[in-house]
Subunit: 201 residues, 2 copies
DNA sequence: TGTACATCAGTGAACGCGCGTTCACTGATGTAC
DNA sequence: TGTACATCAGTGAACGCGCGTTCACTGATGTAC
């Protein structure tokens, strides 16, 4: 297992660059491997062009690598939703489904794993993750409330309506990925369905 | 690895009983292990009180075991939905969420895995599975259509409305399991939300 | 300006483990004569 | 009614593999004097 041709040792103070490379390698393995089982410590090291023990300088084990992948993904997710122009509910939904469609395995791991009670050392990372998830949901609530007020309706139940919208988006995104044979409506048609529910009642 | 105390060798013509025992063992491991990774060929054999090579008399490998678990689960799922009295939309939804709540890992595997293009030998099993999934969805469409006609609305878009209901139910079921820290509405409140969307527009 | 030293970013070999899979086999039970 | 034989439901030992983890190490680079 010689080091990859391309890789050169990081300079003196920049050892932590490897951390980012490992996260990138793990993310690639996750999407290509089709499952989180593809993200093994040895596999990630191999992909990054480094030997297995090097990983321990940055992560306590395979679980911590996947956690870092999820953390970064949540940050990017939030960024993608923000960049979509969060005032427009429809484009916010489009950004949501876009992320889920282009990075299906990452999305699956973000929202499809049960978050177990972490070890003490993981607590910060999980709180960050929860924060990121909450922040993304907050954007949804905000957009729903704004859509309500701009059409002269009561925005006080925005959280509940945003929850309904979220479960619809998530259900569509994940089932479309898992059951592709089903006659799914297009994203646009799905928006019509879900937002029709929002603007009525 | 001595054979489990309880287990006795099946009588002459009844060798295929082991198949059912293996599926039951795999189902138990899936729910207890918290993930499909817990369903290993050796683990299933161990749980069933049998040595590993015995499994090959009934399954071609670990994938085939999990497939059998899913097949049986879909049959039971359809049965549970039927038994709920499929005419009432609300109790149908309750049966759906009941299954997802009491057997979360099984539910996750049923609807959370991408169905890859199977090997030729798996085709029949997958078609059965798809059939079972479609049959369950058919119950939903039927109940939605019936609810529409009984309230004097147009039942022609029942399939689309049933799809919206399905993604909502699935999103709620799977996110509630994955993100338990979220302030989820109760199942009843969720029904109100989802069915309010159904009866309007 | 030169040199000893500490530090840093990794390497390489080794380990034990559980896994999937194979192979030859065993021992009870039914069947043919 | 007894006995040889075929069949069936498994067993037990062995294999190679990739994994996670450990340990002592190496070699380049900056720093102290």
């Amino acid at each position: 297992v010689a080091s990859e041709p391309g890789r050169v040792r990081n300079p003196r103070g920049q050892g932590s660059r490897l951390r980012a490379e490992l996260v990138a390698a793990a993310t690639a393995l996750l999407e290509e491997g089709g499952s989180e089982e593809a993200v093994t410590l040895r596999g990630v090291a191999r992909r990054a062009g480094v030997t297995a023990p090097s990983v321990y300088a940055h992560f306590s084990g395979p679980g911590a690598i996947l956690q870092a992948v999820v953390d970064r993904a949540f940050a990017e997710f939030h960024q993608a939703l923000t960049a979509s122009g969060s005032s427009d509910l429809r484009s916010l939904c489009a950004a949501y489904l876009d992320f889920a469609r282009t990075r299906p395995q990452t999305y699956r791991v973000m929202f499809g794993r049960h978050r177990r009670e972490g070890t003490p050392e993981m607590t910060d990372a999980r709180e960050l993750e929860d924060l990121a998830g909450s922040a993304a949901f907050g954007l949804l609530v905000e957009a729903v409330a704004q859509a309500a007020t701009s059409t002269g309706r009561d925005p006080s139940d925005a959280q509940l309506r945003a929850t309904r919208l979220w479960v619809g988006l998530h259900g569509y995104a994940s089932l479309r990925e898992s059951v592709p044979a089903f006659p799914w409506p297009s994203e646009d048609a799905m928006f019509d369905l879900l937002l029709e529910a929002q603007t009525s009642g």
